[in-house]
Point group: C2
Chain length 303, copies 2
Amino acid sequence: MTSDVTLCECFARDGLQHEPQFVPTATKRALVERFAALGFPRVEATSYSNPKVVPQFADASELLKSIERKPGVFYKATCANVKAVERALADLEAGSGANEISLLVSATESHTRKNLNRTRAEQWRNIADTVAAAGGRFRLVGTISVAFGCPFEGAVDPARVLGFVADLAAAGADEVVLADTVGVGVPRQVKHLVSEAVKLAPRVGVHLHNTRNTGFANAYAALEAGATVLDASVGGLGGCPFAPRATGNISTEDLVYMLHGEGIDTGIDLAALITVAEWLEGQLGRQLPGQVYRAGTFAPVAA
Amino acid sequence: MTSDVTLCECFARDGLQHEPQFVPTATKRALVERFAALGFPRVEATSYSNPKVVPQFADASELLKSIERKPGVFYKATCANVKAVERALADLEAGSGANEISLLVSATESHTRKNLNRTRAEQWRNIADTVAAAGGRFRLVGTISVAFGCPFEGAVDPARVLGFVADLAAAGADEVVLADTVGVGVPRQVKHLVSEAVKLAPRVGVHLHNTRNTGFANAYAALEAGATVLDASVGGLGGCPFAPRATGNISTEDLVYMLHGEGIDTGIDLAALITVAEWLEGQLGRQLPGQVYRAGTFAPVAA
């Protein structure tokens, strides 16, 4: 198994996206800076969404401007369209933007329409336009939603997903992330898709949800198959509006526990990360899906 | 990956062991019969524990007598000592006993003392005595507790665990189950221990807890390494008194979801199993650790 794994802490974007309460910019800033300090090489910081649609990220520019940067860390922002890229560029030119952006496609027509309000043909024109607008100024991550199953269409043809991986790479993506948006995937799917995707894209990651308790088995299978980027969210927060009873992303601290047990040096301070989950539980006033922060850490393999 | 997997539904024993309320015998009987009807080839039914220590199983004989048997199904009872085996034998001779019993050892001295109130030397004399008392009348499962880590001693030497596997096989165990009693194990441990254990015992199983969200990745790794028996508990109930904040066993319905997704035909009716988890949630009045019963099932791989 590879030891070259990049963990992307997604809490500040995916974890917060559906929190009804606006989280103050100062709190977001503190969290993003904390994640970088804990050792994450990549932190998903915000989304250049339309503030009317996602008010949680109305402070995207303000937040990115406030963050004290740690050298070598990539701060990612989601950019769903050309307008978002133009905002990201303006912030970059002012010296305070994201240095990585993610572009979104959906694997199915129905999810494209409901999530991005586009047809599939339009989503590919949008990708071409956003890549052109980005002008090579950002590291580009192409994310394929519902790659392992769609809440509207059911099973998704893996050949179509792999075609999209190739299309994103051809469009200029430095990395392609396969997202199990509604948490339905199983290890053999992950193994198949990742092992083929690594032949088509410069770098392949997975964005997994633990909705049906397959998330960590899927992460393990993804690493076995050659994925080198894993998204996760502290406490296991985050989710999808089309899967309302669903648990969110795989929890970062639980993933780090497993990876350290596997002998993979993530460079992340697990004990300190657990204190963030504990703090979040207090802030949100509810038990989080993550488990290591409750059970405590352990070193199952003697050093 | 093997398609020869025996799932053992442990709810009626491990799931109930620490429930403070006594569950009526009729309810236990209905559950055990339901599990058999749903397709489980093996159902852990009860434990011949000392009723003063574990009052939940004071009705072991009465329960086993009441159960209408399904041909081909193994009904397992835990037997911690000779006295327990004598009770199991008496029930068997009356035509209503368990046809499989599990014998217990712990991988560490401290856990042996605290869990079984014996030294390690005594526990091996106890194994010899219980096997002799069983007289070849039962299928014998040897279970090794804290095989992946001990709450008192930390990391456990895998060579010692493998020595115990060989000892149990030599003592007459038809199967050896490696138990992650406090849910600390990681896939590489599971892979190593299982792949070596299958060389030493006629059949190897794993009993996994999802305490740190590694349970399903561990189940996947166990199957890859040649395990052919997986314990699980509907709803993910059960636990260990020495890990009080811990989630219990891996949830059966989530495991079945993953296995069916992997293309493994367990013979179990997942939709009906989900209704059992839903019913249990209502009975216990709390959300269970299992996730598929909340999120709903899905067929991620087209038939």
